[in-house]
Amino acid sequence: MSKPSDTVPGDLEAPDFNEGASPADLEPATDDRHTVHDLWLSGTEAPRQLGSFTHEGAQEMLHEESDQILSSQRGTIVEDDFEGAAGSGDDELQIINMGPQHPATHGVLRLHIELDGETIRRVKPIIGYLHTGMEKTAEALTFMQGSTNVTRMDYLSPLHNELCFSLAVEKLLEVEVPPRAQAIRVLMSELNRIASHLLWSATSGFDIGALSMMIYGLRERESVLEFFEKTTGLRMNHNFIRPGGVAADLPPGWQGDVMGIIETVTAGVADFETLLLGNPIFIERTEGIGILTREECLAYGVTGPLARASGIDYDVRKVFPYSGFEQYEFEVPTASNGDVYDRFVVRFEEMRQSMRILEQVVETIPAGDYRTENRKVTPPPRARIDESMEALIHHFKIFTEGFRVPAGETYQAVESSRGELGMYLVSDGGPKPWRLHVRGPSFAHVQALPMMLTDSLIADTVAALASADPVMGDVDR
Protein backbone atom coordinates (compact mmCIF):
# COMPACT_ATOMS: atom_id res chain seq x y z
CA MET A 1 0.00 0.00 0.00
CA SER A 2 1.49 3.34 -0.96
CA LYS A 3 1.95 6.02 1.65
CA PRO A 4 1.93 9.80 1.23
CA SER A 5 5.31 11.38 0.55
CA ASP A 6 6.74 12.98 3.57
CA THR A 7 7.77 16.45 2.59
CA VAL A 8 6.39 17.49 -0.75
CA PRO A 9 2.68 18.18 -0.91
CA GLY A 10 0.88 17.00 -3.92
CA ASP A 11 2.65 13.85 -4.97
CA LEU A 12 0.38 11.48 -3.18
CA GLU A 13 -0.23 8.34 -5.17
CA ALA A 14 -3.69 7.00 -5.16
CA PRO A 15 -3.54 3.62 -3.51
CA ASP A 16 -4.46 0.81 -5.87
CA PHE A 17 -5.91 -1.95 -3.85
CA ASN A 18 -6.15 -4.26 -6.79
CA GLU A 19 -2.43 -4.30 -7.36
CA GLY A 20 -1.17 -7.81 -7.20
CA ALA A 21 -4.39 -9.06 -5.75
CA SER A 22 -4.69 -12.25 -7.67
CA PRO A 23 -4.92 -15.25 -5.36
CA ALA A 24 -1.60 -16.70 -6.45
CA ASP A 25 0.27 -13.57 -5.36
CA LEU A 26 -1.08 -13.30 -1.88
CA GLU A 27 0.70 -14.97 0.94
CA PRO A 28 -1.36 -16.50 3.63
CA ALA A 29 -1.43 -14.04 6.46
CA THR A 30 -0.48 -16.28 9.32
CA ASP A 31 2.51 -16.01 11.51
CA ASP A 32 3.17 -17.07 15.06
CA ARG A 33 1.01 -14.44 16.69
CA HIS A 34 -2.05 -14.38 14.54
CA THR A 35 -4.58 -16.85 13.29
CA VAL A 36 -6.62 -15.90 10.29
CA HIS A 37 -9.95 -17.64 10.37
CA ASP A 38 -10.79 -19.27 7.08
CA LEU A 39 -13.92 -17.98 5.48
CA TRP A 40 -16.12 -20.53 3.82
CA LEU A 41 -16.29 -19.52 0.19
CA SER A 42 -17.81 -21.05 -2.86
CA GLY A 43 -15.41 -22.84 -5.12
CA THR A 44 -14.89 -19.88 -7.44
CA GLU A 45 -12.92 -17.79 -4.95
CA ALA A 46 -9.64 -18.68 -3.34
CA PRO A 47 -9.58 -19.00 0.42
CA ARG A 48 -7.57 -16.48 2.43
CA GLN A 49 -7.80 -13.88 -0.32
CA LEU A 50 -10.46 -11.86 1.41
CA GLY A 51 -9.30 -12.40 4.96
CA SER A 52 -5.86 -10.94 4.51
CA PHE A 53 -7.01 -7.59 3.06
CA THR A 54 -8.63 -6.44 6.24
CA HIS A 55 -6.05 -7.82 8.63
CA GLU A 56 -5.07 -5.12 11.06
CA GLY A 57 -1.86 -6.61 12.40
CA ALA A 58 -0.87 -5.76 15.92
CA GLN A 59 -4.04 -3.78 16.50
CA GLU A 60 -6.16 -6.92 16.58
CA MET A 61 -6.94 -9.12 19.52
CA LEU A 62 -4.31 -11.80 19.91
CA HIS A 63 -4.62 -15.18 21.54
CA GLU A 64 -1.64 -14.61 23.82
CA GLU A 65 -1.61 -11.28 25.54
CA SER A 66 0.16 -9.82 28.56
CA ASP A 67 -1.70 -9.73 31.85
CA GLN A 68 -2.12 -6.01 31.73
CA ILE A 69 -3.70 -6.12 28.29
CA LEU A 70 -5.90 -9.01 29.37
CA SER A 71 -7.20 -7.10 32.32
CA SER A 72 -8.05 -4.11 30.17
CA GLN A 73 -9.78 -6.31 27.60
CA ARG A 74 -11.72 -8.03 30.35
CA GLY A 75 -12.66 -4.70 31.85
CA THR A 76 -11.13 -5.58 35.19
CA ILE A 77 -8.52 -2.85 35.49
CA VAL A 78 -10.67 -0.76 37.78
CA GLU A 79 -12.72 -3.49 39.44
CA ASP A 80 -11.76 -7.12 39.29
CA ASP A 81 -15.07 -8.91 38.91
CA PHE A 82 -13.95 -11.32 36.21
CA GLU A 83 -15.07 -14.91 36.61
CA GLY A 84 -12.85 -17.24 34.67
CA ALA A 85 -14.18 -19.64 32.07
CA ALA A 86 -15.55 -22.48 34.18
CA GLY A 87 -14.78 -25.73 32.46
CA SER A 88 -14.03 -24.36 29.01
CA GLY A 89 -10.54 -25.06 27.82
CA ASP A 90 -8.60 -22.51 25.88
CA ASP A 91 -9.38 -24.24 22.64
CA GLU A 92 -13.07 -23.62 23.21
CA LEU A 93 -12.62 -19.90 23.20
CA GLN A 94 -13.27 -18.25 19.89
CA ILE A 95 -12.41 -14.76 18.70
CA ILE A 96 -15.04 -13.33 16.41
CA ASN A 97 -14.97 -10.13 14.47
CA MET A 98 -17.82 -7.66 14.48
CA GLY A 99 -17.65 -4.84 11.97
CA PRO A 100 -16.42 -2.49 10.68
CA GLN A 101 -19.26 -2.89 8.24
CA HIS A 102 -22.11 -3.94 10.47
CA PRO A 103 -25.69 -2.79 10.78
CA ALA A 104 -25.54 -2.34 14.52
CA THR A 105 -22.15 -0.93 15.34
CA HIS A 106 -23.29 2.66 14.89
CA GLY A 107 -20.70 3.49 12.35
CA VAL A 108 -17.43 1.90 11.48
CA LEU A 109 -16.44 0.36 14.77
CA ARG A 110 -14.70 -2.97 14.76
CA LEU A 111 -14.90 -5.22 17.79
CA HIS A 112 -12.91 -8.33 18.42
CA ILE A 113 -14.82 -10.40 20.91
CA GLU A 114 -13.56 -13.55 22.54
CA LEU A 115 -16.46 -15.83 23.20
CA ASP A 116 -16.94 -18.81 25.42
CA GLY A 117 -20.13 -20.19 23.99
CA GLU A 118 -22.48 -17.23 24.27
CA THR A 119 -20.56 -15.44 27.01
CA ILE A 120 -18.15 -12.66 26.25
CA ARG A 121 -14.77 -13.04 27.87
CA ARG A 122 -12.71 -10.28 26.29
CA VAL A 123 -13.43 -7.32 24.04
CA LYS A 124 -11.03 -5.24 22.00
CA PRO A 125 -12.34 -2.29 20.05
CA ILE A 126 -10.37 -1.48 16.91
CA ILE A 127 -10.99 2.02 15.68
CA GLY A 128 -9.58 4.31 13.04
CA TYR A 129 -11.81 3.31 10.14
CA LEU A 130 -13.14 6.84 9.90
CA HIS A 131 -9.90 8.68 10.63
CA THR A 132 -10.12 11.81 8.52
CA GLY A 133 -7.07 13.74 9.65
CA MET A 134 -9.28 16.56 10.87
CA GLU A 135 -6.75 17.75 13.38
CA LYS A 136 -4.20 18.14 10.60
CA THR A 137 -6.79 19.80 8.37
CA ALA A 138 -7.56 22.25 11.17
CA GLU A 139 -3.97 23.47 10.99
CA ALA A 140 -4.46 24.26 7.30
CA LEU A 141 -7.71 26.20 7.63
CA THR A 142 -8.14 29.68 9.09
CA PHE A 143 -10.06 30.21 12.30
CA MET A 144 -13.03 31.44 10.31
CA GLN A 145 -13.05 28.24 8.26
CA GLY A 146 -12.42 26.10 11.32
CA SER A 147 -16.13 25.60 12.02
CA THR A 148 -16.62 23.83 8.71
CA ASN A 149 -14.02 21.26 9.65
CA VAL A 150 -14.93 20.79 13.27
CA THR A 151 -18.62 20.47 12.61
CA ARG A 152 -18.11 17.18 10.82
CA MET A 153 -16.48 15.42 13.73
CA ASP A 154 -19.48 14.50 15.84
CA TYR A 155 -21.87 14.63 12.92
CA LEU A 156 -24.97 14.08 15.02
CA SER A 157 -24.37 17.21 17.10
CA PRO A 158 -22.61 19.51 14.64
CA LEU A 159 -23.61 22.68 16.45
CA HIS A 160 -21.98 21.50 19.67
CA ASN A 161 -18.68 21.06 17.88
CA GLU A 162 -18.96 24.51 16.35
CA LEU A 163 -19.87 26.04 19.69
CA CYS A 164 -16.88 24.47 21.42
CA PHE A 165 -14.50 25.66 18.72
CA SER A 166 -15.92 29.17 18.70
CA LEU A 167 -15.74 29.42 22.47
CA ALA A 168 -12.11 28.28 22.46
CA VAL A 169 -11.18 30.85 19.80
CA GLU A 170 -13.06 33.60 21.60
CA LYS A 171 -11.26 32.71 24.82
CA LEU A 172 -7.92 33.27 23.12
CA LEU A 173 -9.15 36.37 21.34
CA GLU A 174 -10.68 37.70 24.56
CA VAL A 175 -13.74 39.04 22.73
CA GLU A 176 -17.17 39.31 24.26
CA VAL A 177 -20.09 37.74 22.47
CA PRO A 178 -23.31 39.79 22.69
CA PRO A 179 -26.11 38.32 24.83
CA ARG A 180 -28.44 37.75 21.88
CA ALA A 181 -25.77 35.69 20.16
CA GLN A 182 -25.32 33.67 23.31
CA ALA A 183 -29.03 33.03 23.54
CA ILE A 184 -29.15 31.96 19.89
CA ARG A 185 -26.28 29.60 20.57
CA VAL A 186 -28.14 28.10 23.52
CA LEU A 187 -31.24 27.70 21.39
CA MET A 188 -29.41 25.92 18.58
CA SER A 189 -27.41 23.85 20.99
CA GLU A 190 -30.44 22.53 22.82
CA LEU A 191 -32.31 21.87 19.59
CA ASN A 192 -29.33 19.87 18.44
CA ARG A 193 -29.35 17.90 21.66
CA ILE A 194 -32.99 17.03 21.06
CA ALA A 195 -32.31 16.04 17.44
CA SER A 196 -29.38 13.88 18.46
CA HIS A 197 -31.29 12.11 21.23
CA LEU A 198 -34.19 11.51 18.86
CA LEU A 199 -31.90 9.88 16.34
CA TRP A 200 -30.26 7.90 19.11
CA SER A 201 -33.63 6.64 20.33
CA ALA A 202 -34.53 5.75 16.75
CA THR A 203 -31.40 3.72 16.08
CA SER A 204 -31.15 2.21 19.56
CA GLY A 205 -34.75 1.14 19.57
CA PHE A 206 -34.24 -0.32 16.10
CA ASP A 207 -31.14 -2.22 17.23
CA ILE A 208 -32.88 -3.66 20.26
CA GLY A 209 -35.75 -4.82 18.13
CA ALA A 210 -38.37 -2.10 18.36
CA LEU A 211 -38.28 -1.62 14.61
CA SER A 212 -40.92 1.07 14.50
CA MET A 213 -38.81 3.33 16.72
CA MET A 214 -36.70 4.08 13.68
CA ILE A 215 -39.65 5.61 11.88
CA TYR A 216 -40.99 7.48 14.90
CA GLY A 217 -37.66 8.92 15.98
CA LEU A 218 -36.75 10.09 12.50
CA ARG A 219 -40.19 11.63 12.07
CA GLU A 220 -39.87 13.86 15.12
CA ARG A 221 -36.32 14.72 14.13
CA GLU A 222 -37.49 16.01 10.74
CA SER A 223 -39.31 18.88 12.42
CA VAL A 224 -36.08 19.98 14.10
CA LEU A 225 -34.11 19.62 10.89
CA GLU A 226 -36.67 21.72 9.05
CA PHE A 227 -36.04 24.52 11.53
CA PHE A 228 -32.29 24.10 11.10
CA GLU A 229 -32.63 24.36 7.37
CA LYS A 230 -34.70 27.50 7.73
CA THR A 231 -32.21 29.16 10.07
CA THR A 232 -28.81 27.94 8.98
CA GLY A 233 -29.39 26.83 5.43
CA LEU A 234 -28.48 23.19 5.98
CA ARG A 235 -29.99 20.16 7.67
CA MET A 236 -26.64 18.98 9.02
CA ASN A 237 -23.09 20.30 9.30
CA HIS A 238 -24.31 23.85 9.52
CA ASN A 239 -21.25 26.07 9.99
CA PHE A 240 -23.56 28.44 11.79
CA ILE A 241 -21.83 29.13 15.11
CA ARG A 242 -18.64 30.97 14.30
CA PRO A 243 -16.07 32.78 16.41
CA GLY A 244 -17.61 36.12 17.35
CA GLY A 245 -21.25 35.09 17.33
CA VAL A 246 -23.45 33.29 14.87
CA ALA A 247 -23.60 33.55 11.12
CA ALA A 248 -27.04 35.12 10.82
CA ASP A 249 -29.96 36.22 12.92
CA LEU A 250 -32.95 33.97 13.51
CA PRO A 251 -35.63 34.12 10.79
CA PRO A 252 -38.92 35.91 11.50
CA GLY A 253 -41.52 33.62 13.04
CA TRP A 254 -38.94 31.43 14.75
CA GLN A 255 -40.77 31.56 18.08
CA GLY A 256 -43.79 29.85 16.55
CA ASP A 257 -41.55 27.25 14.93
CA VAL A 258 -39.75 26.44 18.17
CA MET A 259 -42.99 26.17 20.14
CA GLY A 260 -44.31 23.87 17.43
CA ILE A 261 -41.22 21.71 17.74
CA ILE A 262 -41.64 21.57 21.50
CA GLU A 263 -45.23 20.43 21.09
CA THR A 264 -44.37 17.74 18.56
CA VAL A 265 -41.40 16.41 20.43
CA THR A 266 -43.16 16.40 23.81
CA ALA A 267 -45.89 14.24 22.36
CA GLY A 268 -43.31 12.09 20.66
CA VAL A 269 -41.24 11.49 23.78
CA ALA A 270 -44.36 10.60 25.74
CA ASP A 271 -45.16 8.08 23.00
CA PHE A 272 -41.68 6.58 23.10
CA GLU A 273 -41.80 6.17 26.83
CA THR A 274 -45.12 4.40 26.63
CA LEU A 275 -43.83 2.23 23.83
CA LEU A 276 -40.57 1.27 25.46
CA LEU A 277 -40.13 1.83 29.13
CA GLY A 278 -43.00 -0.30 30.34
CA ASN A 279 -42.59 -3.03 27.75
CA PRO A 280 -41.54 -6.29 29.47
CA ILE A 281 -39.42 -7.38 26.53
CA PHE A 282 -37.60 -4.07 26.53
CA ILE A 283 -37.07 -4.26 30.27
CA GLU A 284 -35.63 -7.75 29.99
CA ARG A 285 -33.27 -6.66 27.26
CA THR A 286 -32.06 -3.56 29.02
CA GLU A 287 -32.17 -3.93 32.78
CA GLY A 288 -28.90 -5.01 34.29
CA ILE A 289 -27.13 -4.88 30.93
CA GLY A 290 -23.96 -3.01 30.18
CA ILE A 291 -23.40 -1.69 33.67
CA LEU A 292 -20.70 0.88 34.31
CA THR A 293 -19.88 1.66 37.91
CA ARG A 294 -18.99 5.09 39.17
CA GLU A 295 -15.31 4.27 39.61
CA GLU A 296 -15.07 2.93 36.08
CA CYS A 297 -16.65 6.09 34.70
CA LEU A 298 -14.22 8.32 36.57
CA ALA A 299 -11.16 6.32 35.64
CA TYR A 300 -12.02 6.24 31.94
CA GLY A 301 -13.40 9.72 31.55
CA VAL A 302 -16.91 8.57 30.73
CA THR A 303 -19.14 11.64 30.83
CA GLY A 304 -22.54 12.69 29.64
CA PRO A 305 -25.66 10.54 29.87
CA LEU A 306 -23.55 7.43 30.51
CA ALA A 307 -21.97 8.94 33.60
CA ARG A 308 -25.24 10.43 34.76
CA ALA A 309 -26.94 7.05 34.46
CA SER A 310 -24.24 5.70 36.79
CA GLY A 311 -24.95 8.36 39.36
CA ILE A 312 -22.23 10.91 38.60
CA ASP A 313 -23.83 14.33 38.63
CA TYR A 314 -21.53 15.97 36.09
CA ASP A 315 -22.91 18.24 33.41
CA VAL A 316 -20.55 20.80 31.95
CA ARG A 317 -23.43 23.24 31.56
CA LYS A 318 -23.87 23.29 35.33
CA VAL A 319 -20.34 22.74 36.60
CA PHE A 320 -18.42 24.96 34.15
CA PRO A 321 -21.16 27.08 32.57
CA TYR A 322 -20.64 28.70 29.19
CA SER A 323 -22.59 30.84 26.75
CA GLY A 324 -25.05 32.05 29.35
CA PHE A 325 -26.36 28.68 30.48
CA GLU A 326 -26.28 29.82 34.09
CA GLN A 327 -29.31 32.03 33.55
CA TYR A 328 -31.62 29.20 32.52
CA GLU A 329 -33.37 26.92 34.95
CA PHE A 330 -33.09 23.25 34.19
CA GLU A 331 -32.34 20.02 35.97
CA VAL A 332 -29.77 17.41 35.22
CA PRO A 333 -31.36 13.95 35.40
CA THR A 334 -29.34 11.18 36.98
CA ALA A 335 -30.02 7.54 37.70
CA SER A 336 -28.29 5.03 39.88
CA ASN A 337 -27.95 1.65 38.21
CA GLY A 338 -25.81 2.52 35.25
CA ASP A 339 -27.47 0.02 32.96
CA VAL A 340 -28.99 0.42 29.53
CA TYR A 341 -32.48 1.03 30.92
CA ASP A 342 -31.27 3.93 33.01
CA ARG A 343 -29.55 5.47 30.02
CA PHE A 344 -32.85 5.47 28.14
CA VAL A 345 -34.58 7.09 31.09
CA VAL A 346 -31.86 9.72 31.45
CA ARG A 347 -31.87 10.65 27.77
CA PHE A 348 -35.65 10.94 27.55
CA GLU A 349 -35.63 13.20 30.58
CA GLU A 350 -32.78 15.23 29.09
CA MET A 351 -34.93 15.91 26.05
CA ARG A 352 -37.63 17.29 28.34
CA GLN A 353 -35.16 19.51 30.17
CA SER A 354 -33.83 20.77 26.85
CA MET A 355 -37.32 21.75 25.86
CA ARG A 356 -37.65 23.58 29.15
CA ILE A 357 -34.55 25.60 28.25
CA LEU A 358 -35.98 26.28 24.80
CA GLU A 359 -39.14 27.74 26.31
CA GLN A 360 -37.08 30.02 28.50
CA VAL A 361 -34.98 31.16 25.56
CA VAL A 362 -38.09 31.98 23.54
CA GLU A 363 -39.42 34.09 26.39
CA THR A 364 -36.28 35.87 27.47
CA ILE A 365 -34.11 36.28 24.40
CA PRO A 366 -32.72 39.84 24.35
CA ALA A 367 -32.68 42.04 21.29
CA GLY A 368 -29.36 43.10 19.90
CA ASP A 369 -26.52 41.98 17.70
CA TYR A 370 -26.12 38.43 16.63
CA ARG A 371 -22.37 38.79 16.52
CA THR A 372 -19.69 40.92 18.04
CA GLU A 373 -19.04 44.37 16.66
CA ASN A 374 -15.32 43.74 16.49
CA ARG A 375 -14.78 43.99 12.75
CA LYS A 376 -11.42 42.35 12.96
CA VAL A 377 -13.18 39.11 13.88
CA THR A 378 -16.57 39.11 12.22
CA PRO A 379 -17.17 40.32 8.69
CA PRO A 380 -19.09 43.57 8.21
CA PRO A 381 -22.66 43.55 6.85
CA ARG A 382 -22.67 43.20 3.09
CA ALA A 383 -24.32 46.57 2.51
CA ARG A 384 -21.55 48.38 4.35
CA ILE A 385 -18.98 47.06 1.92
CA ASP A 386 -20.33 49.36 -0.79
CA GLU A 387 -20.17 52.39 1.49
CA SER A 388 -17.02 52.11 3.54
CA MET A 389 -13.46 51.37 2.46
CA GLU A 390 -12.65 50.09 5.90
CA ALA A 391 -15.48 47.60 5.77
CA LEU A 392 -14.23 46.37 2.41
CA ILE A 393 -10.74 45.90 3.74
CA HIS A 394 -11.96 44.07 6.83
CA HIS A 395 -14.07 41.75 4.71
CA PHE A 396 -11.17 41.07 2.40
CA LYS A 397 -8.71 40.40 5.18
CA ILE A 398 -11.04 38.13 7.08
CA PHE A 399 -11.89 35.96 4.11
CA THR A 400 -8.48 35.75 2.53
CA GLU A 401 -5.88 35.81 5.24
CA GLY A 402 -8.14 35.27 8.21
CA PHE A 403 -8.10 37.07 11.50
CA ARG A 404 -5.12 36.58 13.76
CA VAL A 405 -5.55 35.07 17.19
CA PRO A 406 -3.04 35.99 19.89
CA ALA A 407 -0.57 33.25 20.83
CA GLY A 408 -1.64 31.02 23.68
CA GLU A 409 -3.26 27.74 24.57
CA THR A 410 -6.60 26.94 26.10
CA TYR A 411 -8.97 24.10 26.79
CA GLN A 412 -12.67 24.65 26.36
CA ALA A 413 -15.39 22.12 27.03
CA VAL A 414 -19.09 21.99 26.26
CA GLU A 415 -21.76 19.45 27.12
CA SER A 416 -22.48 17.71 23.86
CA SER A 417 -25.23 15.16 23.50
CA ARG A 418 -22.69 12.46 24.20
CA GLY A 419 -20.75 13.94 27.05
CA GLU A 420 -17.95 16.39 27.56
CA LEU A 421 -16.68 17.59 24.24
CA GLY A 422 -13.44 19.48 24.69
CA MET A 423 -11.04 21.29 22.43
CA TYR A 424 -7.45 22.08 23.24
CA LEU A 425 -6.46 24.94 20.98
CA VAL A 426 -2.94 26.27 20.57
CA SER A 427 -2.38 29.42 18.58
CA ASP A 428 0.96 30.85 17.51
CA GLY A 429 -0.36 34.34 16.77
CA GLY A 430 -1.16 33.59 13.15
CA PRO A 431 -4.39 33.22 11.22
CA LYS A 432 -4.48 29.41 11.53
CA PRO A 433 -4.42 27.19 14.60
CA TRP A 434 -1.06 25.71 15.51
CA ARG A 435 -2.71 22.67 17.03
CA LEU A 436 -6.32 21.75 17.56
CA HIS A 437 -6.96 18.64 19.59
CA VAL A 438 -10.55 17.56 20.03
CA ARG A 439 -11.48 15.52 23.07
CA GLY A 440 -14.39 13.55 21.75
CA PRO A 441 -16.65 11.97 24.36
CA SER A 442 -17.17 8.84 22.29
CA PHE A 443 -13.44 8.08 22.31
CA ALA A 444 -13.58 7.46 26.04
CA HIS A 445 -16.86 5.57 25.76
CA VAL A 446 -15.51 3.14 23.17
CA GLN A 447 -12.55 2.56 25.43
CA ALA A 448 -14.99 1.67 28.22
CA LEU A 449 -16.77 -0.97 26.13
CA PRO A 450 -14.86 -3.94 27.59
CA MET A 451 -16.13 -3.00 31.01
CA MET A 452 -19.69 -2.88 29.78
CA LEU A 453 -19.60 -6.05 27.78
CA THR A 454 -17.53 -8.71 29.47
CA ASP A 455 -19.28 -11.57 31.19
CA SER A 456 -22.53 -10.75 29.46
CA LEU A 457 -24.09 -12.52 26.53
CA ILE A 458 -23.17 -11.79 22.94
CA ALA A 459 -26.74 -10.67 22.30
CA ASP A 460 -26.29 -7.88 24.82
CA THR A 461 -23.46 -6.36 22.82
CA VAL A 462 -25.84 -4.51 20.57
CA ALA A 463 -27.94 -3.15 23.40
CA ALA A 464 -24.94 -1.95 25.40
CA LEU A 465 -23.22 -0.49 22.37
CA ALA A 466 -26.37 1.34 21.33
CA SER A 467 -26.77 2.81 24.79
CA ALA A 468 -23.21 4.11 24.74
CA ASP A 469 -24.14 6.17 21.68
CA PRO A 470 -20.70 6.32 20.07
CA VAL A 471 -20.35 8.44 16.98
CA MET A 472 -17.30 7.28 15.05
CA GLY A 473 -16.59 10.73 13.68
CA ASP A 474 -15.92 11.77 17.24
CA VAL A 475 -13.80 8.72 17.98
CA ASP A 476 -11.59 8.75 14.93
CA ARG A 477 -11.66 12.38 13.87
Partner: protein, 160 residues
Protein backbone atom coordinates in the same frame (compact mmCIF):
# COMPACT_ATOMS: atom_id res chain seq x y z
CA UNK B 1 -12.93 -0.62 -33.84
CA UNK B 2 -15.72 -1.93 -35.99
CA UNK B 3 -14.09 -5.37 -35.96
CA UNK B 4 -13.89 -5.34 -32.20
CA UNK B 5 -17.56 -4.63 -31.97
CA UNK B 6 -18.58 -6.92 -34.77
CA UNK B 7 -18.64 -10.08 -32.80
CA UNK B 8 -19.80 -8.47 -29.55
CA UNK B 9 -23.21 -7.10 -30.37
CA UNK B 10 -26.01 -8.93 -32.04
CA UNK B 11 -29.31 -7.10 -32.49
CA UNK B 12 -31.91 -8.66 -30.22
CA UNK B 13 -34.88 -10.42 -31.63
CA UNK B 14 -38.38 -9.53 -30.55
CA UNK B 15 -38.63 -11.87 -27.57
CA UNK B 16 -35.21 -11.14 -26.17
CA UNK B 17 -35.70 -7.39 -26.53
CA UNK B 18 -38.87 -7.48 -24.49
CA UNK B 19 -37.29 -9.85 -22.03
CA UNK B 20 -34.28 -7.59 -21.72
CA UNK B 21 -36.53 -4.64 -20.99
CA UNK B 22 -38.48 -6.66 -18.44
CA UNK B 23 -35.32 -7.73 -16.69
CA UNK B 24 -34.07 -4.17 -16.54
CA UNK B 25 -37.40 -3.01 -15.21
CA UNK B 26 -37.37 -5.67 -12.54
CA UNK B 27 -33.84 -4.83 -11.50
CA UNK B 28 -34.81 -1.27 -10.72
CA UNK B 29 -37.97 -2.06 -8.88
CA UNK B 30 -36.58 -3.55 -5.71
CA UNK B 31 -32.96 -2.61 -5.62
CA UNK B 32 -31.82 -3.40 -2.10
CA UNK B 33 -29.02 -1.28 -0.73
CA UNK B 34 -26.18 -2.75 1.29
CA UNK B 35 -25.74 -0.77 4.46
CA UNK B 36 -22.45 1.01 4.00
CA UNK B 37 -23.06 4.16 5.94
CA UNK B 38 -19.81 5.61 7.12
CA UNK B 39 -20.25 9.17 8.38
CA UNK B 40 -22.60 12.13 8.13
CA UNK B 41 -24.02 11.02 4.80
CA UNK B 42 -25.20 7.85 6.49
CA UNK B 43 -27.52 9.92 8.63
CA UNK B 44 -29.04 11.52 5.56
CA UNK B 45 -29.32 8.09 4.00
CA UNK B 46 -31.25 6.94 7.05
CA UNK B 47 -33.42 10.02 6.80
CA UNK B 48 -34.13 9.07 3.19
CA UNK B 49 -35.34 5.74 4.46
CA UNK B 50 -37.49 7.41 7.09
CA UNK B 51 -41.10 8.34 6.78
CA UNK B 52 -40.63 11.87 5.47
CA UNK B 53 -38.72 11.01 2.32
CA UNK B 54 -39.79 7.46 1.95
CA UNK B 55 -37.42 5.22 0.05
CA UNK B 56 -39.80 2.37 0.61
CA UNK B 57 -42.00 3.64 -2.22
CA UNK B 58 -39.29 2.40 -4.53
CA UNK B 59 -38.86 -0.88 -2.76
CA UNK B 60 -35.57 0.16 -1.25
CA UNK B 61 -36.03 0.56 2.46
CA UNK B 62 -34.61 -2.87 3.27
CA UNK B 63 -30.95 -2.22 3.89
CA UNK B 64 -29.36 -5.63 3.77
CA UNK B 65 -26.61 -6.18 6.28
CA UNK B 66 -25.16 -8.98 4.25
CA UNK B 67 -23.62 -7.80 0.97
CA UNK B 68 -24.54 -11.12 -0.63
CA UNK B 69 -28.16 -10.09 -0.61
CA UNK B 70 -27.71 -6.52 -1.77
CA UNK B 71 -27.80 -4.98 -5.22
CA UNK B 72 -26.75 -1.44 -4.57
CA UNK B 73 -23.91 -0.13 -2.47
CA UNK B 74 -24.42 3.47 -1.43
CA UNK B 75 -21.03 4.57 -0.16
CA UNK B 76 -22.23 7.19 2.27
CA UNK B 77 -19.38 9.05 3.86
CA UNK B 78 -15.65 9.50 3.87
CA UNK B 79 -13.50 6.47 3.13
CA UNK B 80 -10.28 6.44 5.10
CA UNK B 81 -7.14 4.57 4.09
CA UNK B 82 -7.88 1.96 6.73
CA UNK B 83 -11.43 1.45 5.49
CA UNK B 84 -10.62 1.12 1.80
CA UNK B 85 -9.74 -2.60 1.87
CA UNK B 86 -12.94 -3.25 3.78
CA UNK B 87 -14.90 -1.34 1.15
CA UNK B 88 -13.33 -3.38 -1.60
CA UNK B 89 -14.00 -6.61 0.24
CA UNK B 90 -17.67 -5.78 0.75
CA UNK B 91 -17.98 -4.79 -2.91
CA UNK B 92 -16.39 -8.05 -4.00
CA UNK B 93 -18.81 -10.00 -1.90
CA UNK B 94 -21.85 -8.49 -3.55
CA UNK B 95 -23.45 -10.66 -6.22
CA UNK B 96 -23.87 -9.50 -9.81
CA UNK B 97 -25.63 -7.35 -10.97
CA UNK B 98 -24.45 -4.67 -8.63
CA UNK B 99 -24.24 -0.90 -8.74
CA UNK B 100 -22.46 1.72 -6.68
CA UNK B 101 -23.69 5.16 -5.78
CA UNK B 102 -21.04 7.46 -4.37
CA UNK B 103 -22.97 9.69 -2.00
CA UNK B 104 -21.59 12.99 -0.92
CA UNK B 105 -18.51 15.01 -1.64
CA UNK B 106 -16.15 12.89 0.46
CA UNK B 107 -17.05 9.67 -1.29
CA UNK B 108 -16.94 11.25 -4.74
CA UNK B 109 -13.70 13.17 -4.53
CA UNK B 110 -12.43 13.27 -1.00
CA UNK B 111 -14.53 16.32 -0.27
CA UNK B 112 -13.09 19.04 1.89
CA UNK B 113 -10.53 16.62 3.33
CA UNK B 114 -7.73 16.65 0.81
CA UNK B 115 -5.20 15.07 3.16
CA UNK B 116 -3.23 11.98 4.07
CA UNK B 117 -6.04 10.12 5.74
CA UNK B 118 -8.73 9.81 3.08
CA UNK B 119 -8.98 8.04 -0.22
CA UNK B 120 -9.61 10.89 -2.64
CA UNK B 121 -12.71 9.52 -4.21
CA UNK B 122 -14.16 6.09 -3.77
CA UNK B 123 -13.76 5.41 -7.48
CA UNK B 124 -10.12 4.68 -6.72
CA UNK B 125 -11.36 1.52 -5.04
CA UNK B 126 -14.65 0.47 -6.62
CA UNK B 127 -16.30 1.38 -9.95
CA UNK B 128 -18.96 4.01 -9.42
CA UNK B 129 -22.14 4.45 -11.44
CA UNK B 130 -23.66 7.58 -9.95
CA UNK B 131 -22.07 10.44 -8.01
CA UNK B 132 -24.35 12.43 -5.75
CA UNK B 133 -22.84 15.78 -4.73
CA UNK B 134 -23.57 17.53 -1.47
CA UNK B 135 -22.17 17.75 1.99
CA UNK B 136 -24.28 15.96 2.99
CA UNK B 137 -26.71 15.61 0.07
CA UNK B 138 -30.23 16.02 1.33
CA UNK B 139 -32.65 13.15 0.95
CA UNK B 140 -34.07 14.72 -2.19
CA UNK B 141 -30.63 14.81 -3.82
CA UNK B 142 -29.99 11.20 -2.92
CA UNK B 143 -33.40 10.21 -4.28
CA UNK B 144 -32.65 12.05 -7.49
CA UNK B 145 -29.38 10.19 -7.80
CA UNK B 146 -31.07 6.86 -7.22
CA UNK B 147 -33.83 7.72 -9.67
CA UNK B 148 -31.21 8.59 -12.27
CA UNK B 149 -29.61 5.22 -11.70
CA UNK B 150 -32.97 3.54 -12.16
CA UNK B 151 -33.56 5.41 -15.42
CA UNK B 152 -30.21 4.43 -16.78
CA UNK B 153 -30.69 0.81 -15.91
CA UNK B 154 -34.13 0.77 -17.46
CA UNK B 155 -32.87 2.33 -20.65
CA UNK B 156 -30.04 -0.15 -20.84
CA UNK B 157 -27.27 2.45 -20.54
CA UNK B 158 -25.81 0.85 -17.42
CA UNK B 159 -26.00 -2.89 -17.55
CA UNK B 160 -24.54 -4.12 -14.29
Amino acid sequence: MADALAGAYTPPGFVTAVLGKAVNWARTRSMWPASFGLACCAIEMMATGGAHNDMSRFGMEVFRASPRQADLMIVAGRVSQKMAPVLRQVYDQMAEPKWVVSMGACASTGGMFNNYALVQGVDQVVPVDIYVPGCPPGPQSLMHGIMTLHERIKSGEIVR
